[in-house]
């Protein structure tokens, strides 16, 4: 039986690791349960140009390795497993990972968000056969081939630009007439000769199920309703994220989109449970805001434990 700790942190992106740094330095001996994709979404990115302190940019995985080392340096203990169950109905709270039940008087939820899919039946059938949510993983397979990226935010633009290193042509499918991403990324994408915009368009279907893999996407113009086939070998979906809150359904108040509801800083509906990073943020979703809210959650947890 594990002894009850002061604080458990679930998640190991910028939010969770920053909470680790701060709670460890407060001598709370945090246990950080990393989850399968340790390091979070930044592990699947390339260069991060907007994290303060890195004037020449930093690779996402390298940034996360630094944050992890910093958290461990001050005594954060880590467990490499996914949390499969939590009990927040009484204190100490419990979290089960890899069959072990860990308990703590305060809990910090930093489980982040995962890539959202289009929801087409063909998409599931073709996952791994041309449909991808990880450009850095799979771009390699599309050397000299035409592909499509779906989405218009920074993630989509970054993926599209990255994929031009491999692909012969990248069709960027966006349902609006203008991009949502930051100006610098928009300029880069629009200036790239390999990127062709498909404005006001949505993916109505993906062709290739039952064959070797994706052969084309069917685009529908949302103004005219007309459809057309665009031959591609791959489709990268970057239409946003959905919060990883399945674990907390019924245990924490969630909003209509599944995000953890926070108030007065990082407090959730359960006193002693705090949330930080993308799991509670559908507005900013930046590495730096996630890290900032991880710091807030750590300070909130410390304050809570001091007043018990």
């Amino acid at each position: 039986m594990e002894t009850t700790r002061d604080v458990i942190i679930i998640g190991s992106g910028p939010a969770g690791l920053t909470a680790g740094v701060y709670t460890a330095r407060a001598n709370l001996k945090p246990l950080l349960i990393e989850g399968l994709l340790a390091g979070g979404q930044l592990m699947m990115t390339t260069e991060v140009e907007n994290f303060p302190g890195f004037s020449h940019g930093v690779m996402g995985p390298a940034l996360m390795a630094e944050m992890r080392a910093q958290a461990e340096r001050f005594g954060t203990e880590t467990v490499q497993a996914d949390v499969t169950a939590v009990d927040l109905s009484r204190r100490p709270f419990s979290a089960t990972a890899d069959g072990t039940v860990y308990t703590a008087n305060a809990l910090i939820v930093a489980t982040g968000a995962s890539a959202k899919l289009l929801g087409l039946p063909a998409e599931r059938a073709l996952m791994g056969r041309g449909v991808s949510t990880c450009a850095t993983c799979d771009g390699f397979f599309y050397r000299g081939k035409p592909i499509a990226v779906v989405g218009g935010g920074d993630s989509a633009l970054e993926e599209a630009i990255f994929l031009t290193k491999f692909a012969s042509k990248v069709t960027l499918v966006h349902r609006r007439q203008s991009l949502r991403g930051s100006k610098i990324m928009q300029d880069k994408a629009l200036a790239n000769p390999k990127i062709e915009m498909a404005w006001n368009s949505v993916v109505a279907d993906i062709k290739g199920a039952g064959t070797g893999g994706v052969s084309a996407i069917v685009l529908r113009d949302i103004e005219t309703g007309q459809t057309r086939d665009v031959p591609v070998d791959g489709v990268f979906v970057a239409i946003g994220h959905t919060p990883n809150t399945t674990l907390f359904a019924g245990a924490l108040a969630l909003d209509e989109n599944g995000y953890v509801v926070t108030h007065d800083g990082t407090n959730t509906s359960v006193p002693g449970v705090f949330a930080c990073g993308d799991v509670q943020d559908h507005t900013y979703r930046q590495a730096i805001t996630a890290a900032g809210s991880g710091c807030m959650a750590a300070l909130d947890a410390e304050h809570f434990l001091d007043h018990q």
Partner: protein, 111 residues
């Protein structure tokens, strides 16, 4: 990224290994630059140790072996493909927990 329970496959030894195997073979297609692949590696190693004698576990680096992944339609990694009698019978894409992998291979291995 492999333990001694895991065979290393290449374009040149792939067919002989897969077709010659008496047991089902689980092949992990991966690359160094794929972060989820690096995370999945230890899980695959653990599965190899756990199911030794029932399942052959092998890894193929897609960067070093350009021929084989395409033959099996691998366009995303990490991808695990289960071969039985030389034929692919099931697959798993992305970072998945060990229990899920066990559920995939269990119906194909002898007790």
């Amino acid at each position: 990224m492999a333990s001694d329970k895991v065979q290393i496959l290449t374009d040149s030894n792939f067919d002989t290994t897969i077709k010659g195997a008496a047991l089902p073979v689980l092949v992990d297609f991966w690359a160094e630059w794929c972060q989820p692949c690096l995370r999945l590696g230890p899980t695959v190693d653990a599965l190899a140790a756990e199911l030794e004698g029932k399942l052959v576990v092998a890894k193929m680096n897609v960067d070093e072996n350009p021929m084989t992944p395409g033959r099996f339609g691998v366009r995303s990694i990490p991808m695990l493909v289960l071969f039985k009698g030389g034929q692919p019978v099931d697959q798993s894409v992305g970072l998945v927990p060990k229990e899920e992998l066990k559920m995939m291979v269990t119906p194909h291995i002898a007790e």
